[in-house]
Amino acid sequence: MTENAVTPGAAPILRLRGVGRRFGGLDAVSDVDLDVGPGERRAILGPNGAGKTTLFNVISGDMPATAGTIEFLGEDVGQIPASGRSKRGMGRTYQKSRLFLGLSVEDNLYLAVLGNQTGHLRPFRRSRDGDIRERARELAGAVGLQGKCDALVGSMSHGEQRQLEVAMARAGDPKLMLLDEPASGLSRGERVALTDLLLELDPSITLILIEHDMDVALRVANRVTMMHDGRKIVEGTPDEIRANDLVHELYLGGRVAGAEEDGA
């Protein structure tokens, strides 16, 4: 656990009230209230199908919420599309990697950096592209992909793709990073490297992390939210979560080791 400064009483960077998402007759997420403060490291735990990924999707704007309000940096972003939320400072990764498989690592990161800047439509090259590429190579280096800049992403290993996922989320200099099971399918060594990377992140970046791997989640997080059947059921510090009976019954007892391989 890190001692990240969570200024008490500071206005939350992310504030959810009564958020729900319904698919046909299924309430994948219902009535979730969530306050995440600036610089906080929040882990979201919960069994398969608890609604964690769906919660991320409505926060990032990949799909609209069907109930409730979402405020980011004090602004109601409920009607703003994903691209607009990204420009306001949200960055995310996906549980199942969403990368540009037909492009190189450097091109992937180039697009990730360019995303929050102007000039997407520019049909000619300029010296500014050199700076973006410089930044792209820096980001690749930060996740151990410095030698792979020209590799086609579709030809890389799963572990390398997961590392690139995290680099993509960082590229837009987000204020809030949403990481959906970044360690899924990684080897033990790669997990350690990833955890170190998360611990070294700029402390001003707010982090919400979905992670089945307790070692990763409880080491990185200073606050934990537990979800079940689309609802938030427990919230507390990692120690409180470890000690909570309900959590043990639903989660720690049921599926711990090895469960993190799913969804990869």
Binding site: S83, L111, G115, P123, L152, G154
Partner: protein
């Protein structure tokens, strides 16, 4: 494991030889080849390149490219003819008509793009097919612009003169434009506009969560591709001197799709390679007695054979031959065929 980019292309040596042959062609081939076969190959290749560009870089297989090419041709016809033909007979000088015809086509292309850019896959294909059918019916029924008989006597600009008397002039114009189109498309692919388009091809959801406006970008890419198709349409109008709704009928729409698929939907060069094969078969099949009126059966068979041998067309076949040559005859290294992703940008070669 190495994989080839969609832009992977002919090696420089081969490209230089091909361009040299194309430049010297009027000295090598007779006027029938220059004026009929090779000029047709060049402008058909330009239209097919607009289709391949959208497919290879944008993941959008459009069946509206022939309609857009026809719209440019009809615009040229209406603006420049003067007298005894259908259409508006506005009698403009040919050079003044070109920018207007391009602008009309790009405008309609942007409109089509805006209407179809939220659809993907088979829905996109169907919507663009609908545009092509509408354009075909429109020019058939609106007699003030064309009617079924079409517009005849379309004049080429003065520097081209009478196409029948100076076939090499239009040939060289088409060659220069084809080379420029090719170079432009290759260049665009490495600009922010082109890379963004490729990102959208690979994962539109990720692109919007990175801050991109996916539908706007698709719309503009479609508008850009209609500009390319329009260049082909203007050349066609000069080459043929006549345009009627059959030019943009369902048959013609499918012909250009066949050209693109034979050449290879993932490689720009494939546009002209496919066009050459198509034009040659089209021409010589007519002379073989028993196939002459079964031309579409023959091209269908060729199409099937090529697609079965190589899902990414002749360019894909060419690439694999190159791999074989480079690899020598090491046993157990048969190249894997095809691509898993349809557009062929991921081609495992080991």
């Amino acid at each position: 494991m190495s994989a080839r980019r969609p832009t992977a292309s002919l090696d420089r040596g081969t490209a230089a030889v091909l361009v040299a042959i194309a430049i010297l062609a009027p000295l090598i081939f007779n006027t029938y080849w220059i004026g009929t076969l090779l000029t047709q190959m060049l402008f058909l290749g330009i239209v097919a390149a607009s289709l391949i560009f959208l497919s290879a870089y944008g993941g959008m297989v459009s069946l509206a490219q022939v309609a857009l090419y026809g719209i440019a041709g009809f615009a040229i016809g209406n603006l420049t003819t003067n007298g005894n033909t259908k259409g508006l007979n506005l009698g403009w000088t040919p050079l003044a008509a070109i920018p207007v015809a391009l602008a009309i086509t790009i405008g309609l292309g942007l409109l089509f793009g805006a209407l179809s850019s939220r659809s993907v896959g088979i829905y996109f294909l169907m919507i663009t097919l609908t545009f092509s059918v509408i354009a075909n019916l429109f020019f058939g029924q609106v007699t003030s612009l064309s009617g079924f008989g079409g517009i005849s006597g379309i004049p080429a600009p003065g520097f081209i003169g009478n196409v029948d008397h100076h076939p090499d002039r239009l040939y060289y114009l088409a060659l220069v434009l084809a080379l420029l189109v090719y170079a432009l498309l290759r260049y665009i692919a490495r600009t922010p506009f082109g890379l963004t388009l490729q990102g959208i091809r690979d994962d539109p959801v990720r692109m919007s969560s990175l801050g991109y406006n996916v539908t706007l970008h698709r719309t503009l890419a479609f508008g850009f591709a209609s500009f390319i198709a329009a260049i082909g349409g203007v050349l066609f109008a000069y080459w043929n001197g006549h345009i009627d709704p059959a030019t943009i009928g369902l048959g013609a729409t499918i012909d250009v799709l066949v050209v693109a698929v034979i050449g290879g939907l993932s490689r720009l060069e494939g546009a002209w390679l496919g066009a050459l094969v198509f034009v040659l078969i089209n021409n010589y099949a007519q002379r073989i007695g028993f196939v002459s009126d079964r031309f579409h059966t023959l091209i269908g068979v060729v199409f099937l054979v090529i697609v079965l041998l190589s899902p990414d067309g002749l360019m894909g076949l060419w690439g694999r031959l190159g791999d074989l040559r480079r690899r020598g005859e090491r046993p157990g290294q048969a190249p894997t065929g095809g691509s898993e992703r349809g557009s062929g940008e991921l081609e495992p070669t080991v």
